[in-house]
């Protein structure tokens, strides 16, 4: 009887600890969401925030349109490079990647995932900014594409690996070449998973500050030319937050909120697509 009581106490204590610590882990997330939303809402409430470029402190009507456009351009260019290369590499690893070369590629992409993003920024600085003698959106895209690449590679590999072998063999049994089976049968079947990976990579790239810091540099004006310096949302947050001016700090909160919502939407979208992939893979 007494042992039973002791056991129950142990169980209750353990369960309590599990729930309590899980709750504790969620506190920072909740606080970040709360603070950013509460502090950012006043900025976002004005339409000019989305339509106007940044203005110096003291001049009303400033917005972050330049940074929204900048983020879109920089991330799009990075995606244009990283997604095709990453998807093809991922297919290679999943479909043909049994040898030593493939294990090196895997190792390299794992190392790249863990690489400090500021190092990628430095890399793009040395590779693009130094020889060209000026900052540019392209340089930032180079840095971000390196950042995105391993994410796309490994998620593509995972999604293609989910496709049952029967599908691959059925394609080959029709007398089709292996590369066509990989690209025209396996890849479409894995598409939702591949898209998930691409979206996650985009979300991650959009939120990065360090790789764009000394590549895109930042720019108060609305520019569309990717060979020029440009601003992105994380850069606005970084630069504005460092100023002593209340109105610019407010702008930083607004940019942070906008960025957070964007990343959240992309992440939720990718989860939705992933769920479709899993359902599809079960049917095959």
């Amino acid at each position: 009887m007494r042992r039973n009581l002791w056991r129950r106490f142990g169980s209750t204590f353990a369960m309590g600890a599990v729930y309590g610590l899980t709750g504790l882990a969620l506190v920072p997330l909740g606080l970040v969401l709360w603070f950013t939303t509460a502090k950012g809402l006043p900025s976002v409430a004005h339409m000019e925030f989305f339509t106007n470029a940044q203005r110096p402190s003291g001049i009303p009507g400033g917005g972050v349109a330049n940074a929204i456009v900048g983020t879109a351009i920089v991330v799009s260019l990075a995606s244009l490079a990283a997604i095709p290369i990453g998807v093809l590499s991922g297919i290679y690893l999943a479909e043909y990647g049994a040898g030593r070369w493939a294990s090196w590629v895997r190792l390299a992409s794992d190392v790249l995932v863990g690489a400090p993003s500021i190092a990628l920024g430095l890399f793009a600085f040395a590779l693009v900014v130094v020889p060209q003698h000026h900052y540019s959106a392209i340089a930032a895209s180079v840095a971000l594409s390196v950042l995105m690449l391993p994410v796309v590679i490994r998620t593509t590999e995972g999604a293609v690996g989910l496709i049952p072998n029967g599908l691959r063999e059925s394609g080959l049994a029709l007398g089709l070449p292996r590369w066509r089976v990989s690209l025209q049968l396996i890849l479409p079947a894995a598409a939702p998973g591949v898209i998930t990976g691409a979206l996650l990579a985009i979300a991650r790239a959009a939120g990065e500050t360090a790789p764009v810091l000394f590549t895109a540099l930042g720019n108060q004006n609305l520019v569309f030319d990717p060979t020029r310096a440009m601003s992105t949302l994380p850069l606005v947050v970084f630069r504005d937050a460092l100023t002593p001016y209340k109105d610019l700090q407010q702008e930083a909160w607004g940019a942070a909120l906008l960025l957070m919502v964007m990343v959240l939407v992309i992440n939720l979208g990718s989860r939705w697509v992933l769920r479709r992939q899993i359902r599809l893979a079960r049917q095959l």
């Binding site: 599908l167 049994a173 007398g175 049917q283």
Partner: protein
Amino acid sequence: MPGAAGTKLEVDSLSFFYGKTRALKDVTFNIPERRITAIIGPSGCGKTTLLRVFNRMYDLVPGARAQGTVLMDGNDIVTTTKLLDLRQKVGMVFQRPSPFPMSIRDNVAFGPRLLGWNKTRVKELVRSSLEAAALWDEVSDRLDEPATSLSGGQQQRLVIARCLAVSPEVILMDEPCSALDPVATLKIEDLMVQLARDYTIVIVTHNMQQAARVSDFTAFMLMNPEGRHGELIEFAPTADLFNAPRDPRTEAYITGRFG
């Protein structure tokens, strides 16, 4: 029905290895043209391995290699370098129905399209292949629906239609009914008999009744207890093999004493 028939596949002293492990030893027999040949035997006897030699599907497995010859119309399958031609001529239907994740129409048209055949021909092939696979009447009004919406038995007939669309001469079937219910199984069996008028069919099956029902010839395989490799014990017209087996091991298996 067995009787005068040409030989389609001439298997001569075929051995097979996965790395250093021998999986088949000295298999020799002739598969007749436009007949159904069943390969039966207990699990692990090398039935599927043998089947996968006929379209070189084993090429995907690292370290797998075959020794000996399998002649089809005089050309050796084991050494051929024209793998794509071979697989087009020797189609395969797998145990689990494997519809492609696309519409019913696209499933059938997939092979012909990728082979670059012209549009009118592909369109005709979709219909004729589905008709030949006894599926046309059930799907003619919903060709654009996803293939995964079909029942298991329909999916398996779709896979057969897909295989017919690239104009094969031989159709290999690896336990095509083991995932299906009795009614669907019966339909596939009827279909096999139909198809045997135009195609050479080789079917691997666990199910002796199925072999007895549909096949013209039967090959009985067994794992050699010492070498742990598969061997061909007996090959004969199905009626002879089931009614008057020459080998005592065949008799033991078909009367259910082991396996």
